[in-house]
Amino acid sequence: MPDTRRTEKLYSGTPGPYWQDELLARLRCDPRFAQPLQAATTWAAIPLGRLVENDRPFPNSNPSSLCYFTSSSTGAPKRVAFSSRDWQQTIVHRADCLAELGLGKDHLATVALPFGPWFSGDNLCESLLQLGARVLPASLYGPHLPGMACLMANVGANALITTPSIAHSMTRFPAPGLLDKLILVGEAASPSIRGRLTNHFGVVPQCLYAASEAVLGAEVQDQPGVFHWDPERLYLEVLTPQGSIVEKGIGELLVTRRYGDAMPLLRYPLNDRVELLPDAKDGPLFRYLGRSGHAFGLATGVKVRRAQLERFLDEIPGLIHAAHFIVEHTPESDRLQIILGGSGPLPEPADVCNRFINSSLDVADAHRCGFLTIAAKLHDAPVRAKRQLRITEAPWNL
């Protein structure tokens, strides 16, 4: 059922979650938020959020109990703190998402994720226990993957929760018995990877969208990339390229979370591009479109975005674990060097260059017009839980 209280707010012309008054009243008592919220008398005036800096102490009234770090895919790792109450609420939120994906007491689930210091496999294990499932907390270490596949078969695990990169790495080993559920977390899964995983594991993968900072939602069945989110816990908006914040449409995702004492999230940008879709009969939905943000620019004025690079990497045969794009601007032309580390049969460098050139009309145009030269290098690299993407843009040398 659509959330009528939320739509009432929408139609009344004062956008924002119906619980905004309660949330803002709480945050105005928090010294970390009091000042920025002082001037914001309406929801629309709330500034963009950010994580509390590492060296700022948490208020004594909300002691943090457990701390993890972000995976640093957007820069330096940031601290992600939970009070005991936050931890419990996150477990319940995540458990609800896992239940939506069909996990429950009939499953013996292997959790092949890092348990620290990055995002939390631990919280996921506790969510599974909450659903009555049996759990094998396998953690993640590349050399142990063959052993883990054997272990899964020995204990009769019928569900696997891991990242797309790790699941794809496991296709090198015999399938660990018959899986009933394959849940992917931590990074986006391209259609080609989904197809390969379906062929190997015999089950269609489903995604749980959860960043280090917040649980977002569960993928809707038969709609890859579309996620259901819970308006009782979250409020999602997007920042459009024009700079306005809206409740529907395409832009950078901004997350407000109703719970969270140690690290409240208020209009927090996750650096992801999404499309907030019209509410469905089961509640609000969004479509994941990739990482947001500018990656580098080319002399012809072409702006290459991170999402574009990630789509290009997803479509390369083999599995890319690390990618480094080095852009050098010279008077003659821009020089782009693509260094890819991966496993499995990798394509020839010339093929990689051609794929990048053809990844967008703008890039192809810059290349054909002589403004861009591209070179590629490929090498074997160890398996990583999440793909590493580095971009180095040398200063203009005109």
Partner: protein
């Protein structure tokens, strides 16, 4: 914690205890309790767990006694074990001002999970950090976290200690494997903090050291400890050394009753100088017929004990081989096995003659020591030894 009646009810339903007669038992002092058989590591490994329904977390033992064993915990079991770990933390002086970096394996082993949960219950701010990445990664995480407490295994701490760059810590906790004296001194010198060692197995957590560091305090409502003759189920006289046999009052999902630890030790019920009234366990090493040294050399433990005993009264030894999985990949090339021989202070002058005799009578040991494949270290009871460590 569980009471004995509930524990025995759970055990009676489990195939591990088929044929055990609990009918005449109301407390641990009953003769019927002492007539029960004991549970061995092999028996635990070979007995298929019953098919269970409902929530369960599957862990594995570290494989000290052979192939790792699968050990299932219900959420309630984990809560009880975590509560015991919280008692350890409070005894050591962990408070709500403590920032604890837990540098332990977080998956498959219980130790990481219960250490994190225990410190949270004690009120500390906890940062779970897995072992991945080795010393460089640990140092980087310590820079981000700025911990006041680090909890890890002796091998990891001893390997990191010479490279540690950071503020003095308040406490270092070691767990998961034996802590040798030389390792303790090295860790304390380099981290600038008091080391609290804890004793426990994947099957049953036992106790921790107080500031006096005279044995491991244990809580009788959580762990029942008996000392039996190593080759039989007969108890030894109170205060006498034998094999430690433990019963966990924390786990009902996989009940652990009268589990033979393979560790030698004795119980001390005298009040501790720290003021806490709990009894203490004193560990004296593993019960092993042979020590497996590098290059496939096997040393008869009784022969070694006899050689030491022929020259010093009450002399003891402890042997620590290279750390096993999961710490091993991150310590490769940084650790060598260590044979530590303890000599009572009143016979300290015999240290050199013991060394000469050992190397003369055991040429294979002499070769390994000479070629630095193994460290040979002497510790004098009641005296601090130099920070030699088992580092390569």
């Amino acid at each position: 914690m569980l009471d004995l009646t509930r524990l025995m009810e759970a055990a009676a339903r489990h195939p591990l205890y088929a044929g055990w007669d609990f009918s005449q038992i109301s407390c641990f002092d009953d003769a019927a309790w002492r007539r029960l058989p004991t549970l061995t590591s092999n028996h635990l490994r070979e007995t298929q767990p019953p098919t269970v329904h409902g929530p369960e977390l599957l862990f594995y033992s570290s494989g000290t006694t052979g192939t790792p064993k699968m050990i299932g915990f219900s959420p309630e079991d984990l809560d009880r074990v975590s509560e015991l770990c919280a008692r350890f933390a409070r005894l050591e002086g962990i408070t709500s001002h403590s920032r604890v970096m837990v540098l332990l394996p977080m998956g498959l082993w219980t130790v990481g999970k219960i250490t994190v949960n225990g410190h949270r219950l004690a009120g500390a701010e906890v940062f779970p950090v897995d072992l991945h990445g080795g010393i460089e990664a640990w140092q980087r995480m310590a820079g981000l976290i700025r911990p006041t407490v680090i909890s890890s295994t002796p091998s990891v701490l001893a390997a990191w200690a010479p490279h540690y760059q950071g503020p003095r810590l308040e406490i270092v906790e070691s767990t998961g494997e034996p802590l040798l004296d030389s390792e303790r001194h090295l860790i304390e010198a380099r981290f600038g903090a008091f080391v609290h060692d804890a004793y426990g197995l994947s099957e049953c957590v036992v106790g921790t050291e107080c500031r006096v560091r005279d044995g491991f305090h244990y809580w009788p409502d959580a762990t029942h400890v008996e000392v039996l003759e190593p080759d039989s189920d007969r108890p030894v006289a109170d205060g006498t050394t034998g094999e430690l046999v433990v019963t966990s009052l924390m786990q009902s999902h996989l009940p652990i009753l009268r589990f033979r630890t393979g560790d030698r030790g004795h119980i001390n019920r005298r009040p501790c100088a720290c003021g806490h009234g709990m009894p203490r366990v004193h560990l004296e090493g593993r019960i092993a017929n042979t020590l497996k040294l590098p290059r496939a050399v096997q040393l008869d433990a009784s022969e070694l004990a006899a050689l030491i005993g022929s020259q010093v009264r009450d002399g003891r030894f402890r042997y620590k081989s290279a750390p096993g999985s999961p710490a091993e990949p991150f310590l490769e090339g940084r650790f060598r096995p260590l044979l530590e021989i303890r000599i009572p202070a009143d016979q300290a002058d015999k240290q050199e003659s013991v060394r000469k005799n050992l190397l003369m009578v055991l040429p294979e040991l002499a070769e390994l020591v000479h070629e630095q494949e193994i460290g040979l270290h002497f510790a004098i009871d009641g005296e601090k030894s130099p920070a030699a460590g088992g580092l390569a």
